[in-house]
């Protein structure tokens, strides 16, 4: 055959290099090769209906990923060679990176493991290839994030032992348990959890406005790895949407199963992202957009369009969406207030926002900030000024499912703490919300096994009974260096010396009041 165009078109190339590379087994039963495919009750009748709209094949994948890496590492080099950390807006910003490195980067690695696993479990070749590429992407994200942060680790505290902390520290059990929950589910639930609910519906909130904020705060290295990772994410999101459509189109019995997963994983993701709400509103000294604005664009608008599209499959928006929408007015403030009280046990610092920042919050949260949150901050600022920086010495009650302290309030009742409890086989369990309690009720045998950091400390499993010992020995957080208040911390003093100033506690306080 003589062809004028020697290049295969995308559709043919995808067919040859993906599906045609697979084969039908002859001397082993398919069920023995892919034993996990049907235990969740999902019915797949025809794998050939699986569509990858990007039609990405391995050759193109390597080519574009290599190009992304070259661009990224050129910027890392330039950033390090030019002491880029000296040009960020303010050293308070670095605390967001400490949370990112200990809370998010290990999730990239967990995602790598998760996709490697499910990439083996599907009998459809298209799905296997997509999962394998995503596994490699996730490993790349974990590595590039560690490389980007390694420069900060030379100059700031709290970044020295992220993987160790991720497995032990109380608030890091929130992201860790989220991914452990997904990875211990079946392959279709994993994809619904991570590819759809997390990647498609929610990660924009972390990787788009927050990374844009990193750029606005002078952090060239972070915005670059963030956007470079996110360029893979466009592919992952598409996979997420295709997965859902594929499962729903295969059999009507799949609809209620998928709906339950969407309800569960939307909520789990929303709780996880409460950490991001505070990173955006409190940890970016130069503000780009508020959490509530980001939620409106990336969830209410984009998520709204998505769930409208899924209506024709019989899927409705997530069950507790209204609670999440209402929480946008409160979330970041409730989170920051909690971390402010427990800075003795974190690898990052906290502070009371300056006057200008509080005014920005009043403007962005006109119905809630001045009424519920500003007075609390002003009181704490006064206490601090009088030598009584407030730390809460009672360990918090954690939710059995999301593992966030039970710090949230009821929808429409911002002064009433949201708390649910139930007894299961003689033990009492506590929850932050109706939604987490619902999740527990459906799979109690899974969640009674949760490793709750506060319980573990009280049970004596964390190398000591007092907070200081646990923090220093078990968490590897260096007491007096990595933790406590930002003002007067070694990071703060170091930053002042970079800027040619010296630390004067009185001047600092008045500067903070004026800031």
């Amino acid at each position: 055959m003589v062809s004028k165009n020697k290049k295969l078109n995308l559709k043919d190339k995808y067919q040859y290099l993906t599906r045609d590379m697979a084969w039908e087994p002859t001397y082993q039963k398919k069920k023995d090769i892919f034993p996990d495919e049907d235990f969740e009750g999902i019915k797949i009748t025809d794998w050939s209906q699986w569509e990858d709209p990007f039609r990405l094949t391995m050759d193109a994948y390597w080519k574009y990923q290599a190009e992304k890496e070259k661009k990224l590492y050129a910027i890392f080099d330039a950033f390090a060679q030019n002491n880029g950390h000296q040009n960020i807006s303010d050293a308070r910003y670095v605390n967001a990176l400490k949370l990112f490195l200990t809370g998010v980067s290990p999730l990239e690695h967990a995602a790598f493991q998760g996709y490697s696993k499910v990439g083996r479990q599907f009998s459809g070749a298209g799905a296997r290839v997509a999962c394998q590429m995503q596994a490699i992407d996730e490993l790349r994200h974990s590595q590039t994030q560690q490389h980007a942060m390694s420069h900060y680790n030379k100059h700031f505290n709290g970044l020295h032992d992220a993987a160790h902390m991720h497995d032990r520290v109380w608030f890091l059990s929130v992201p860790k348990s989220f991914f452990d929950d997904a990875r211990t589910a079946g392959p279709f639930e994993f994809l619904t959890a991570i590819s759809f609910s997390f990647e498609y519906v929610l990660t924009n909130l972390l990787f788009v406005p927050f990374m844009s904020g990193a750029a606005y705060n002078g952090d060239m290295a972070t915005v670059t790895f963030g956007f470079s990772a996110q360029s893979d994410e466009a592919r992952h999101m598409t996979l997420g949407l295709e997965v859902i459509k594929f499962i729903l189109e295969q059999h009507e019995d799949n609809v209620p199963i998928v709906q339950r997963w969407i309800d569960k994983w939307f909520w789990r993701g929303f709780r996880l992202l409460s950490l991001v709400s505070m990173m955006m509103d409190y940890m970016l000294p130069n503000k780009v957009m508020s959490w509530s604005e980001a939620w409106e664009v990336y969830y209410e608008q984009n998520g709204g369009a998505l769930f409208k599209d899924l209506e024709r499959y019989g899927i409705r928006p997530p069950k507790y969406q209204d609670v999440a929408n209402d929480a946008k007015h409160h979330l970041s403030h409730q989170l920051w207030s909690t971390f402010y009280q427990y800075s003795q046990a974190t690898n990052f610092h906290t502070w009371i926002p300056g006057k200008e920042e509080m005014d920005w919050m009043s403007e962005k949260y006109p119905d809630t900030f001045d009424k519920y949150y500003r007075p609390r901050y002003e009181y704490w600022a006064k206490e601090h000024a009088e030598g009584r920086r407030f730390y809460n010495n009672t360990l918090p009650q954690l939710c059995q499912v999301c593992q966030v302290p039970t710090l949230f309030t009821e929808m429409g009742e911002p002064t009433r703490l949201s708390h649910r409890q139930m007894k299961y086989e003689g033990e009492r369990y506590h929850f932050c919300s109706e939604a987490c309690c619902d999740i527990f009720k459906h799979e109690p045998e899974k969640y009674i096994q949760a490793w709750l950091p506060v319980h573990q400390i009280y049970q004596g499993n964390c190398e000591g009974g007092d907070v200081e010992t646990v923090v220093q020995k078990y968490y590897h957080i260096e007491v007096g260096v990595d933790n406590f208040e930002y003002i007067g911390s070694p990071d703060h003093k170091h930053w002042l010396s970079i800027k040619g100033k010296s630390f004067d506690s009185k001047a600092e306080k008045s500067e903070q009041d004026a800031a």
Binding site: N9, L10, K11, P53, F54, R55, L56, A60, Y64, E67, K68, K71, N204, F207, V208, P209, M211, S212, G213, A215, Y216, V223, F227, Q230, S231, E233, A234, R235, M237, T238, L241, V288, Q301, N302, G304, A305, L306, K308, D309
Partner: protein
């Protein structure tokens, strides 16, 4: 209810041509500049044509090259050799 599709690009040299091409082929789209990124949204449908892009760049352009500069998307994707379409049907 309005149903928006969107695409976000890293704000760089390639993307400026991309944004130009998108705005030319989708005159009703809305272009937003945010720190380090360009975000374009449109009602229901947004199309990027290889032909328009090649005209802007003055060279051959592979639709998959876009993967390097894209930050995020919203909408169902339909891609082939000549175009990249985002759509809510």
């Amino acid at each position: 209810m309005s149903q928006l599709v969107f695409i976000a690009f890293q704000d760089n040299d390639d993307s400026r041509y991309l944004a130009e091409a998108v705005m030319e082929d989708n005159p009703d789209a809305e272009l937003q500049h945010q720190p380090a990124m360009i975000r374009i949204q449109a009602e229901k449908r947004l199309v990027i044509n290889r032909e328009t892009m090649e005209e802007k760049l003055g060279r051959d352009w592979d639709v998959q090259e876009m993967l390097i500069n894209v930050i995020s998307i919203g909408g169902n994707v339909d891609e082939d050799d000549d175009h990249f379409i985002l759509e809510w049907k």
